[in-house]
Subunit: 339 residues, 2 copies
DNA sequence: ACGTTTTCTGTAAACGATTACAGCAAGGAG
DNA sequence: CTCCTTGCTGTAATCGTTTACAGAAAACGT
C-alpha cells in the first residue's frame, strides 16, 4: 500500500501538497500529483484520516432484526441513500434486546460519525444521550420519550391504522379483534390508538377480550389469534399491527380451517413479501420501506455535512412522517350474515 | 473521550503499562489500572489502534441485494457468527454490478481485515486478487473460476436440484420445463446441471424450448414461465432455480389461471418467506440460510485469527457444502392424464 | 550478601494522514 | 526598482495507540 509519502516523493512535492491536492485545493503541480496518485494507485488510509480528523466516513446502523424482510427492505433503502463514495454502513442487529443495543452502541462509538437507530423501546435513553453529545442520530420507525431533539422518520401509524378500521367498518364489521404491539413502542401504541379511535368515533366498542397486545413476533400473532378464535362469540374481522403477527394470524386461521374472508376478514399493517400471491391475497396497509430507509439516510447525511462545519445545534430536528396506503385485496369482505 | 494517557495519569503508571494491561499481560498495578479504566469509562480509540496495528476489527460484507429476504437471512447468520464483541460488519450491496462491486471493494480496502463476498459472477477476478494479497476472504454461495485457494460455503446445488428432478420423475412427469440462472454463476450452473443430469439418467429429454436460462430475478421467472405456457405442448412441471424466479413463475401461472398442481406442478430451489402459506403451499428444495451465514462468518473469524499470527498460507482453503432438503408441500402432484 | 535470571516498567519511535505556521515566489501598484 | 499583497509551498506538530529497547526491580540460588 503506497502512502502519501510515496506519492509526494514521486511527484517531487511535499506531503502537504499532495494532501491539499486531494482535498480539492489548487496546487501548482496538480498534474504531477495526479499522475503519481494514479500510477501508484494511492488511496488514503482511512484509519489515519479518522485518527487525525476524528471523522470516520462511516455510519452505524442498528436494527432489531436484520433477518426480517421489512428491515431488509429498509436497509436496502439506507444503502441507496448513501452518496456516491466513501461513506459506509456498519450494520448490527440488536435482536430487540436493550442490553445488546447498549453494547453495540458502545462498540461502535469510536468508529462512526452518526447513527441510524430503531430503538428497542420508547424508554430507551441511549439515543438521546448521543444527541446530547452532539452525535448525529436519525431514528427509524420508532420514537423515544422526550426525543423531540432527534430526527426521526416514521410512517403515519395512526392514519394507516385508522384507514384499516374505516375499511372494516365500511364493510359492515362491528365485532373486530385488534392485535397490537408493545405499548412502549411507537408503532405499537400509535397503531392501536389510531385503530381504536376510529371505532370509538363510530360507537363500536371493543371489549377487553378483543383488544390484545402482542410483541410483534409471529408466535404472538398466532397465539393471540387462537385466543380470538376460542371466544364464545368470535370477531368477524381481525386487525394485526405488523407483518410478523399477520403471518402468525394467517397460520392460526389456516390451522383452524377458518375460511378467510368468508368467516373472518383479516387486515394487516405492512405487506408481506408475497402478500399478493396468498389465497386470498392479503388486504393491508402498505408503505414504501425502501423509500423510508432512503429518507433516513438522506437526513443523516445532511446532518453529517453540518456536523463537519460544527453547526450541529443550528439544524433543527426534523420529523418526517411518510404516508401509508390502504391496499384492498382479497382478505377482507362483508361479514357473514349471522342468524 | 478519555485517552490512554488519562488512564495512565490517573493510575500513576505509564501508557505502556495500561496498554499491556488491556492486552492481557500481567502488570504489577493491575488494580489501579482497572480502577482508572472503569472510573473514566475509557475505551480504546479504534482508529488509532487500526493505524498502529493495521487491524481494524471489522469485516466487509458484499452481497448482491440486501433487500432480498434470502440475503437478509444470510446476513442474520453472519451477525450471529460474530464472536462476542469488537468485531463489526461493514455491509454493502453490489446490486449485481461488477463495476459497483469493484468500487466497493476498493473503498473498503483500508477499513477491514477480511471479506465475505458473494461475487457477481464466476469470472470475477477480484476475490482472488485479495486472497493473493493475503487478505482473508470467504466466498458466499458462489465460487469463482480458479478459486480453489479461497474458502467458500456453498449448498449442495447439484444434489438439491437432483432431488427436485427425482421428485418430479417419481410423480410421473416426463415433460419438464427448467428455468435456471446465469451459466456463469455457481448456483446457475450447478442447479441446471444437477437437474438435467438426473433427467438424462432416466432418458427424459429436455428439448431446447423447455431448457431456459434466466437471470435469477423475478421478472425473468415470469417471462420465461409465460414462454413455457405459450408452447404448443406445455410442460407438466416446472423447476425454477431460485426464490425470485419462483415468485415470477407463480405470478405468471396465476395470471394465466393455470391451476397448480393440477395442470402444472411447480418446484423451486429455495423456499419463499411464506412458501408454506401459499395456496397451494410451495414444494421446494430448502436449506438453512441463517446457518450458512453463520458458517461463513465462523470460517472468516478463524482465518482472521490466523492472519493475526501471520500464518495465512498455512491454513488450507476450505470448501463447505451444506445439505439441502426436499420439502414436499402442495405445489407438485402427478401429471394430469392427457387424452 | 551477592550475582544472575526473570519479570516488569517507562521512554520514545513508529503508524499515515491533516494542518498551523512561517517562508518564498510571483504579480501588481506605486 | 521597491514594497505589498496574494497564493503556494514545505516543515513539523499532532491525533491515540502499540511495541522495541533498555533499564530497574523483584526473585532466586548460592
Amino acid at each position: 500500500m503506497p502512502t502519501i509519502q510515496d506519492v509526494a516523493a514521486r511527484a517531487g512535492v511535499s506531503v502537504a501538497t499532495v494532501s491539499r491536492f486531494l482535498s480539492g485545493q489548487t496546487v501548482r503541480s496538480a498534474d504531477a500529483v495526479r499522475e503519481a496518485v494514479d500510477a501508484l494507485g494511492y488511496r488514503p488510509d482511512v484509519a489515519a484520516q479518522a485518527m487525525r480528523t476524528g471523522r470516520h466516513s462511516a455510519v452505524g446502523v442498528i436494527v432489531p432484526d436484520i433477518g426480517n424482510p421489512f428491515f431488509a427492505a429498509i436497509v436496502k433503502g439506507l444503502a441507496q441513500g448513501i452518496p456516491d463514495g466513501g461513506l459506509h454502513m456498519l450494520l448490527a442487529s440488536s435482536e430487540e434486546s436493550a442490553q445488546l443495543e447498549a453494547r453495540l452502541l458502545a462498540d461502535l462509538d469510536s468508529r462512526v460519525d452518526g447513527y441510524v437507530l430503531a430503538p428497542v423501546n420508547e424508554q430507551d435513553r441511549l439515543p438521546l444521550e448521543l444527541v446530547r453529545r452532539g452525535v448525529p442520530v436519525v431514528l427509524l420507525d420508532r420514537e423515544v420519550d422526550g426525543g423531540e431533539d432527534c430526527d426521526v422518520v416514521l410512517v403515519d401509524n395512526a392514519g394507516g391504522a385508522a384507514s384499516a378500521a374505516r375499511h372494516l367498518l365500511d364493510l359492515g364489521h362491528r365485532r373486530i379483534g385488534v392485535i397490537s404491539g408493545p405499548a412502549n413502542t411507537t408503532p405499537g401504541r400509535e397503531r392501536r390508538e389510531g385503530f381504536l379511535s376510529v371505532l370509538a368515533e363510530h360507537d363500536v366498542v371493543v371489549e377487553p377480550g378483543l383488544d390484545l397486545v402482542g410483541d410483534f413476533l409471529e408466535e404472538s400473532g398466532r397465539r393471540l389469534t387462537e385466543q380470538l378464535l376460542a371466544l364464545p362469540e368470535r370477531p368477524t374481522a381481525i386487525f394485526t399491527a405488523n407483518n410478523q403477527m399477520t403471518v402468525g394470524a394467517l397460520r392460526a386461521l389456516q390451522a383452524a380451517s377458518v375460511p378467510v374472508p368468508d368467516e373472518i376478514s383479516l387486515i394487516g399493517f405492512d405487506d408481506l413479501t408475497l402478500g399478493g400471491l396468498l389465497q386470498p391475497p392479503l388486504t393491508c396497509v402498505v408503505r414504501d420501506e425502501v423509500r423510508q430507509g432512503r429518507t433516513v439516510m438522506e437526513l443523516l447525511v445532511e446532518r453529517l455535512g453540518h456536523a463537519r462545519l460544527a453547526e450541529t445545534p443550528q439544524v433543527p430536528p426534523r420529523r418526517v412522517v411518510l404516508e401509508t396506503t390502504l391496499l384492498v385485496r382479497g382478505s377482507t369482505a362483508t361479514p357473514r350474515q349471522e342468524a
